[in-house]
Amino acid sequence: MKFAVLVFPGSNCDIDCYKAVEQTIGQEVDYVWHTATDLSAYDCILVPGGFSYGDYLRCGAIARFANVMNEVKKAADAGKYILGICNGFQILTEANLLPGALIRNNGLKFRCHQSPLEVVNNQNPFTRDYEQGEVISIPIAHGEGNYFCDEATLAELQANNQIIFRYAGDSNPNGSVDNIAGISNKVGNVVGMMPHPERAVSEILGSADGKRMFTSILNAWREQHGTAING
């Protein structure tokens, strides 16, 4: 399985994503610059966190028009797996690949700490190795992670099982509607989340709970391609 980690000017979690793929599942992974015009070689595209284009105007607003985003759209339509983390999530909403928007945290502060997440949907390719309802510990680090969508969109997200992660219990750190921490598109191949699973792939980092997102996607891909699953 082959992974692409997109790199925009101002991305700063690209190396973490790259290392997470290498160290959790040992699959091929490349950095792909925002000017790239072909992503057809990749099975999974990771849109990393950071401050693309300085987050000028709005988070993700400028990155959305980078050349590579046309390819991300094509890949999404082709059913490839796409995961946007933090700024990557903001970019995917700005690009209309995911519904809603991320606005300023309701407490105005940049929140940077471990966060308990409830796995709301474990039927998604990115979460199949988790238990339904399991609470995992994944760090957050954002100032604009307050997920907003209108009521009709929220009802649709709930009805289609598109809410993948919620901030567990009363731990909502930013005011997100319905405690939403991560969602998918209708089909389920595009996922966006504010917490950083790539920063939680080893106990040394404080949690290894993010590791199963990577094993999940590899297992989903292998199943789709009829490849034997190793350990």
Binding site: L57, R58, A61, F65, T93, E94, G100, A101, I103, R104, N105, N106, G107, L108, N146, F148, C149, D150, G175
Partner: protein, 80 residues
């Protein structure tokens, strides 16, 4: 031609910055202050003399980039 674009947070969306500034004004004794909303103000110089075309293109600029219409409203003014 000069365009002035105002981008504001929709009425039904919480504006945490506005709430913080309202609290700040209250603590300074400006108790007459009700709701505060913070938005963006943009000045654009346009290389055109065709007002109708400028308006049509500004609308597209706002929809595509300057505002995120999920959470923001926009309006603009044009001067020659």
């Amino acid at each position: 031609m000069k365009a002035t674009v105002y981008v504001t947070i929709k009425e039904n969306v919480l504006d945490p910055q506005g709430v913080a500034v309202q609290g700040g004004l209250h603590s300074l004794g400006f108790n007459e202050v009700g709701k505060v909303r913070i938005g963006k103000y943009l000045e654009l110089e346009l290389d055109t003399t065709d007002r109708a075309e400028a308006e049509a293109r500004l609308k597209v600029m706002c929809e595509k980039l300057l505002a995120n219409t999920v959470v923001e409203d926009y309006r603009f003014e044009l001067e020659d």
